[in-house]
Symmetry: C2
Subunit: 351 residues, 2 copies
């Protein structure tokens, strides 16, 4: 039901390059460990890229947008038409991720994998099996074929980035209602009670959150996917096209040896899906930020992940990953550009 | 005893520009608050710079270096000659801050305010009252005149940056033994027990930390500066020339309406000194990172400060401030570059 390539083993990071990078860090003119997580990130990236001098200059951003039938159930503070309006805003350069990508020199591709848009839009790639998902409070969100299509759309998006020769890739999402789909997937996969994972999304109050949790709990029960369900069944029942596309994109990127800088809650749920489908993609994931969205901490914990920054962000759109990117670039610059004790004729620790 | 200008009132941030910046944030195409601390930083900077469109492009870094007589007491994992060796490494571009400043396009000035160096060095400004401080375990570290000189050296360094028209300034430090001086100052000013504030510095073990705390406790008792002492007396007793220079620089920068992006433990202690000497400089301080050095959390708390990043850094050299700078730049880019709901024709929240 899911495409075969989903199961293909991802390559392993280079342990030889990890060792060499660790040895270099011990020689740079600073107390060992004094650059903390900047050292760790540089070493990790050296292992993933299998190079002596890691880099993060070429970091294309792919944003996947989709709409959600569940939005009809009042689970978002914004109306569904905002998704398509935001597509124009991405293409026009006024959205947060457009500003960030421009500032950072990152190419930005926006893929409509399932919004309600009828017409093609300038600057937006359209690659969708249908307009929006079905309302999962009344029927399964997607057919198995639509799930498979979204995986393929993710892989096609990755293939289109190869011209950029990425040092790493960033995936992001936009879609009114998609924290509800993401929370439903996470509640099924972790598993945990919906109320534990449901957050405010774009700005729900306590009543709204309670309704959202109830909608999710009822749907998981109705579709019979709240315990031990196959991942593909969960995705068909409550999935979102942009979330599934990102899961496919993550696996496809890892299969190409491209590190993936994971954004916030929704991308982390896509990462959880990817790791459950193909655990060999896990080493290729770097985690950028800890979102203010409630469920993110649980998903990060399930993935054994530690985020770099924690700035109370809860926008999505890959904005957290983009914000963390300069830190990774500086980690590389330090690893590659600092002098060693010998080069600088600086004394080491006293015996 | 301290120069008179230390007491001159710093200007207040512009509340009108803060209000305008808050109003703009509410109009940008994102749920209000969804960019978390990036919104706060942009608003804060707009108020400090008294502009509609804040910026952080022009961010000169001034590094103050000094040596410490207390290093003779085995309080550092590195020998004192490392301070002067590192001056060469700063000038030669191989030190962490040199790499970071280059990557970020920040001008870097290194000021020897009191190292053991005998000779001037290419690329280093020399502005010092003496070579190193005295060993404060046996005598006061500095005379009142030397303390005043270091304050003036800080102010002179600030004046030299005016050609850069700074959006903000970053101060940093280097000096073997200076976490001991900083911890002693903090223990006296907060006040707290030396053992609460003493950390590993460049890499002491538990025995080393205990020795360091004992050295500090004995010195504060010997010099009678452990309760209610005047700040200037604390500085003369256990101060470091680079720490005092930074305190002077912070006040001088705030008096010019330049926001100061504060680095880690030692710069934060300098900030604490500055705020105790002249509380009107406090609004001009932005806090970049939470250091792995033990006492930093206490000093941040005393200053009512919340750092932006927490990456287990403990190098000094302004490396934490430099690492946080791109986040501030992105916060400005978002504030200045995002479209409003009206401009992008995006619907707001449902009523």
């Amino acid at each position: 039901m899911l495409p075969d390539w989903i199961n293909s083993e991802c390559p392993a990071p280079s342990e030889a390059h990890r060792k060499a990078a660790l040895a270099r860090q011990a020689q740079l003119t600073k107390p060992l460990g004094a650059l903390g997580r900047l050292e760790e990130v540089a070493v990790e990236l050296a292992a993933l890229q299998a190079v002596d001098r890691p880099g993060a200059d070429r970091a294309p951003v792919v944003l996947f947008a989709g709409d959600h039938g569940i939005a009809a159930q009042g689970v978002s503070a914004y109306p569904p038409e905002v998704t398509v309006q935001m597509l124009h805003n991405f293409a026009g350069g006024g959205a947060a991720i457009a500003v960030l990508a421009r500032s950072l020199g990152c190419p930005l591709e926006v893929v409509d994998v399932g919004t309600l848009a009828d017409e093609p839009m300038r600057g937006i790639v359209v690659d969708k099996p249908r307009r929006g998902t079905r309302d999962f409070s009344v029927e399964p969100a997607l057919t198995p074929e639509e799930v498979a299509f979204a995986c393929e759309a993710g892989r096609r998006a990755v293939a289109r980035q190869s011209g950029h020769s990425p040092d790493l890739v960033i995936f992001g999402e936009m879609g009114i209602g998609n924290t509800t789909s993401a929370a439903a997937i996470a509640a099924a996969l972790l598993p945990c009670a919906p109320a534990q994972i449901v957050g405010s999304g774009t700005g729900l109050d306590a009543d709204g959150r309670a309704r959202k949790a109830r909608v999710i709990g009822d749907a998981l029960a109705r579709h019979g996917v709240n315990t031990d369900a196959a991942v593909a069944d969960v995705l068909a029942a409550v999935g979102g096209l942009e979330i599934i596309a990102m899961a496919g994109a993550i696996i496809a990127a890892a299969q190409r040896r491209w590190p993936v800088l994971v954004d916030g809650f929704i991308v982390s749920v896509a990462a959880l899906v990817a790791v459950r489908l193909n655990p060999s993609c896990r080493p290729w994931l770097l985690f950028s930020h800890r979102s203010a969205e409630r469920g993110h901490a649980l998903v990060l914990e399930a993935l054994g992940a530690r985020a770099l920054i924690d700035l109370d962000l809860r926008l999505g759109e890959a904005s957290g990953a983009a914000t963390a990117l300069p830190i990774i670039r500086l980690a590389c610059a330090l690893h590659n550009g600092m002098a060693t004790f010998a080069e600088a004729a600086v004394s080491g620790r006293e015996a």
